[in-house]
């Protein structure tokens, strides 16, 4: 795949999957409608024609069984990449993920590893209401034994998968549905990414905006607005939701002394709380102002467009929160 030509996030995900299938015969894809249908978000389109039904495996509507089957296959040395269409459906497989995938290595005293990758589409904004639009990745970030990734930029969409497959532990990759169509060029010089560190996506000195997934896009937009007001915002892309890269977060806050955390998930008990608490524990004396969050409103996602927009954090909300810290009324 020519890196310099513009690609979409969707295409970057597809190239990553194709690479994985080409480079390791133990890798296979498994999920609902990833084959003949081409993937509910068209990410896997064409792969079944190239790799066949065995390695691009359409499953029945049996989330618990096929995710559990992915765990079993990983236990015997395969490198399954399982797809769950939407994070709400992943609740049907949660028993397998939490009670088996996350426990077996420890429970067995290290006799078995579970080198499994699960790709899950997440997030709101597509007007698909209260059973298809939530952001539960922060929830998964609570579970010991799992690594949780949230690619927000093309480079991560393209290269996080390979790093996830190299990890001997279960890795969940959350792809935000609003990102699939973003387009850009991949730097041909870059051929891989780490899955350990957060990244500063924009340097700034007045306030740190900490975000991930689609929230990053919104934080970057807010930073642009703030620049117009003469406020220099630093934007951190968490990238890895578990384990959290506290070092990068604290370094930024130590510099800016102010922090707004952006999370599309429901505010109470969201990942933003953990990030804020770590700052309050370890960076307390660096702060010149209270911590702030801009999160999803605590409602099942409504269908009506104006209500869904009101339920999700928007760039203007982020900019306003930052302004409030830098220039308190």
């Amino acid at each position: 795949m020519s890196g310099s030509a513009p690609v979409t996030y969707r295409e970057a995900c597809r190239q990553a999957l194709r690479d994985a299938l080409l480079s390791d015969s133990k890798t296979f894809l498994m999920g609902e409608d990833i084959g003949r249908y081409g993937g509910c978000y068209a990410v896997t389109k064409g792969l079944i024609d190239e790799f066949g039904e065995e390695r691009v495996r359409d499953t029945p509507l049996s989330e618990s069984a096929y995710v559990g089957a992915g765990i079993g296959a990983a236990l015997v040395g395969m490198r399954p990449i399982v797809e769950i269409m939407t994070v709400n459906f992943s609740l049907l497989a949660l028993d397998q993920i939490v009670n088996n995938a996350a426990t077996i290595p420890h429970m067995s005293g290290g006799q078995f590893a579970v080198p499994l990758v699960i790709r899950i589409a997440t997030g709101g904004g597509r007007r698909v209401a209260a059973q298809h639009s939530h952001s539960l990745e922060g929830w998964y970030a609570h579970i010991p034994g799992l690594r949780i990734l949230a690619p927000a930029v093309l480079e991560d969409a393209r290269y996080m998968l390979a790093a996830a497959l190299a990890d001997p532990n279960p890795v969940l990759i959350f792809e935000h549905v609003m990102l699939y169509n973003i387009e850009g060029a991949l730097d041909p010089a870059v051929t891989g990414v780490d899955i350990d560190h957060a990244k500063v996506r924009r340097q700034g000195s007045d306030v740190s905006l900490i975000a991930y997934g689609n929230g990053l896009i919104k934080a970057l937009a807010a930073a642009e607005t703030l620049a117009g007001d003469g406020i220099s915002a630093e934007v951190i892309d968490l990238r890895v939701l578990r384990p959290l890269d506290t070092v990068t977060i604290l370094a930024s806050v130590a510099k800016t002394r102010r922090c707004v955390i952006v999370d599309e998930g429901w505010k109470s008990g969201s990942l933003s709380a953990e990030i804020g608490m770590r700052i309050a524990e370890e960076g307390f004396f660096d702060l010149d102002a209270p911590l702030r969050r801009v999160c999803g409103r605590e409602v099942p996602m409504p269908y009506a467009a104006h209500l869904e927009d009101a339920a999700l954090p928007q760039p203007a909300d982020i900019a306003a929160a930052a302004r409030g810290l830098v220039r308190p009324a």
Partner: protein, 328 residues
């Protein structure tokens, strides 16, 4: 066709009208979707109208219905007004769910229509509980639960079928077998493709019927409902049908051949019933035209109602996240 259905003039015209109302309503939805007035997912019932029209004929007002995300037909056949339905699809507060549910989440308290569920198989446990509650309270109601062939793959199907049968609950399980779950052909998803047989694993009577034949569906549903109401426990009714259009508006239909769709279209429930009625002198062409005209007029009124509807103030966003009381 079944002898249990009285094919008098009024009734056959009613059946035809119901199917036409659904078909025309959904054609309008497609227009509105293309005009981006309806957003999100839109799952059409085109080709499956005979199923809910036939089944609903067997139900009484006190019965309960649990629907799927492909439920416009189920909702209209159950008697929910096109106006509040269309307003819901347009996200207006005049909609049956104040615009919060949309196409996949139609609810209507008055007709005991317990939703529009967009988790495949997610409605089955609810149906079991609704029937349990009605039974414990001595209400004579039957709960009819619609779901697709894909839902049969889910564990919730297995658990719910067993619970309903074990506890002899008044549930009619209606499987709308349209041979596909999104792009997944039944034969690629189920080791046993004869779904009616699955009922045997729960000692539940299971019957398969031609879901393209509205009278056959009504007859089978009347038989089943009668037995459920008599206290014989749940029944399983498989309606063999087909989806003429894409799964949703995002579907390129790579998984099936055009001529497969064409062959099925010839068996279409509306055309077939209409021809049969005319051949047997049970309806005249003008009547059909009138029915179509009436349906279109009704739909125009519904669209006007929806278009002139208002948006719920964003200040009310959190209303009903928790209820202040149980609605009487």
């Amino acid at each position: 066709m079944s002898a249990r259905v009285h094919l008098d003039h009024d009734h056959v015209r009613h059946l035809l009208r119901q199917m036409i109302r659904i078909r025309h309503f959904e054609s309008k939805c497609v227009e509105l979707y293309q005009a981006q007035k309806i957003l999100g997912f839109l799952h059409l019932y085109d080709g499956e109208e005979a199923v809910s029209v036939g089944v609903m004929e067997a139900l009484s007002p006190e019965d309960a219905v649990v629907a799927t995300y492909r439920e416009h037909g189920q909702a209209i056949a159950r008697g929910i007004g096109m106006d509040v339905l269309m307003a819901e699809m347009l996200g207006k507060q005049e909609g049956c769910c104040r615009g919060r549910g949309g196409s996949m989440h139609i609810f209507d308290r008055e007709s005991r229509f317990y939703g529009g569920n967009a988790i495949v198989g997610g409605g089955l446990p609810l149906a079991v509980g609704i029937a349990l509650g009605d039974k414990m309270e001595g209400r004579p109601a039957v709960t009819t639960c619609f779901f697709g062939d894909g839902a049969v793959d889910e564990g919730e199907f297995h658990e719910s079928m067993n619970l309903a049968s074990l506890w002899k609950l008044p549930v009619l399980f209606v499987c709308e077998n349209n041979l596909y779950a999104m792009g997944m052909a039944l034969a690629r998803a189920e080791a046993e493709t004869d779904l009616a047989r699955k009922a045997a694993a729960y000692r539940m009577p299971g019957v398969a019927v031609d879901g393209m034949d509205v009278v056959a569906v009504e007859g089978a549903a009347r038989n089943a409902v009668e037995q459920v109401r008599a206290g014989g426990g749940p029944q399983f009714l498989e309606c063999r049908t087909y989806r003429f259009r894409a799964h949703s508006m995002f579907d390129a239909q790579l998984y099936r051949a055009k001529d497969e769709v064409e062959t099925w279209r010839k068996k279409g429930p509306i055309g077939r019933f209409q021809d049969w009625l005319m051949k047997n002198g049970l309806i005249r062409e003008e009547e059909v035209h009138r029915i179509e005209a009436d349906a279109d007029a009704e739909i125009e009124k519904a669209v006007a109602f929806a278009e002139s509807g208002t948006l719920e103030p964003v200040e009310e966003l959190e209303k009903f996240v928790t209820m202040n009381q149980v609605p009487a």
